[in-house]
Amino acid sequence: MNAFAIALIECLLKAVQIYFIAGLIFAIVFSLLGVQRTDPGARGIAPFFRLIIIPGVSIFWPLFALRLVQGKQHPIEKTAHRQAAKFSR
């Protein structure tokens, strides 16, 4: 086996691992304490809901960290009709 390839692959896998584990730690704290601040739809105890968002938050955690820091909530989506309606009056 090729020593360079092994070193490169080990390095890349390590980077992915660190990103994901950092995300996992963030996600656990976020699902308990942060999610109701960035999304008003998250209410009550809802333990299963909080559990089920953890894998995804571990992937997209920088997005939620940014929203927490900026004190923002999720954006409202736009479609052609919604855009047109906004400009029509």
Binding site: M1, G41, A46, I52, G56, I59, F64, H81
Partner: protein, 357 residues
């Protein structure tokens, strides 16, 4: 509908679908293992298991990819659509078992996957060994097809992890949709995974024939449906009058509690006929952009055919306490012709219905 998130919405019907789904998958794996070990392919049981789970995952993926276009062609496929998310998650776990095996501490069930079988010896971590043992990316015959499977699995993981409605809201529908369109990229990766790997080493005719059928079916079905949809959108709406209203057809075209869909200003508008009245709203459901105009008016509410979100036709809004809103359009009736203003009103604007009669 969203007042607050629910974990997973199970009802009796969905439980029945899930039970049928799991039983079918279990039966397939059982039959595959029995037949393959009886016919003696020279593979040991672990190799057979990898193939059983890989092929089960692939078949389920084909079914999942067919459901969308099939519901565009025939409404009777809708019940499958309601259950597609659970199919997706089941598919993901089959593919995961194929790749990394299953070794749960609580269950006596233990299955070897590719990682624990081919790569769990020597002094390298299995995952490093998987990617490092073959780096001949320039050789089509010896191509490390495992990497293609791994790339597909990563896409499927992101999709499974973002399947809850929370993600639709938090990533916004366009991004969520784009992300989940990644399933086609992943399908391409899986097909390449099988063509560059098992079809060359295993050379079982069933595998080659199955892959051919899958490609023709998936590509053909999607092309056929896309052409039909494009045809619907390109049909010109009728003439417009001095105030800009467009003639969209006659009252008799629309069945009671149903809608007619026309394309105005680039997006589809649904004109509903109910209780002797006509109301026009955007055809796009706020939930996952489902086609509202293919739904029915139930209990005075437009009901989305995809997941049942409801809207009051004249208000363009869900009945309280729900908060969804869709754009509305002004409607006029002249004789039996329906005229619609192509300029959308902001979501949730009340528009007086046109009275028939």
């Amino acid at each position: 509908m969203s007042v607050s998130y629910k974990s997973i919405q199970w009802n009796k019907q969905k439980l029945i679908y899930d039970a049928i789904l799991l039983a079918t998958v279990g039966l397939y794996i059982y039959i595959f293992l029995t037949v393959a070990s009886k016919t003696g392919t020279g593979l040991d049981l672990r190799g057979i298991r990898i193939r059983a789970y890989g092929s089960a995952a692939f078949i389920l993926l084909n079914i999942i990819l067919s459901i969308g276009p099939l519901t565009r062609l025939d409404k009777r496929f809708y019940p499958l659509l309601f259950n597609r998310r659970h199919m997706g998650v089941t598919f993901f776990f089959l593919a995961l078992i194929h790749a990394i095996g299953l070794n749960l501490p609580v269950l006596p069930l233990k299955v070897d996957g590719v990682l624990t079988w081919y790569h769990d010896f020597g002094n390298l971590e299995p995952l490093v060994s998987l990617f490092a043992s073959n780096v001949e990316y320039t050789d089509l015959i010896r191509f490390p097809f495992e990497s293609l499977g791994a790339a597909a699995l990563v896409i499927f993981f992101v999709m499974a992890a973002t399947s809850h409605d929370f993600w639709l809201v938090n990533l916004t529908a366009p991004i969520w949709k784009a992300l989940h369109m990644g399933v086609y990229l992943a399908y391409g990766l899986v097909v390449s995974h099988v063509i560059l790997g098992p079809i060359q080493t295993n050379q079982h005719p069933c595998l080659t024939i199955g892959m051919g059928i899958s490609l023709v079916w998936i590509v053909g079905l999607h092309l056929f449906t896309a052409l039909r949809e494009a045809n619907v959108d390109s049909q010109p709406a009728g003439p417009s009058d001095a105030s800009g209203f467009v003639d969209v057809g006659s009252v008799a075209d629309i069945a009671e509690n149903r809608a007619k869909i026309v394309t105005l200003a680039g997006e589809r508008v649904a004109i509903f006929k109910y209780d002797g009245k006509l109301s026009a709203v955007s055809n796009v459901c706020q939930h996952q952009n489902g086609p509202l105009g293919e739904g029915k008016v139930v209990d005075g509410c437009i009901t989305c055919p995809w997941h049942g979100y409801q809207y009051l036709p004249a208000e363009g809004a869900s009945p309280p306490p729900f908060t969804e809103k869709i754009p509305t359009f002004e409607v006029r009736l002249m004789g039996d012709r329906i005229w619609v203003d192509p300029i959308a009103k902001p979501p949730g604007t009340r528009v007086a219905p046109a009275i028939i009669g």
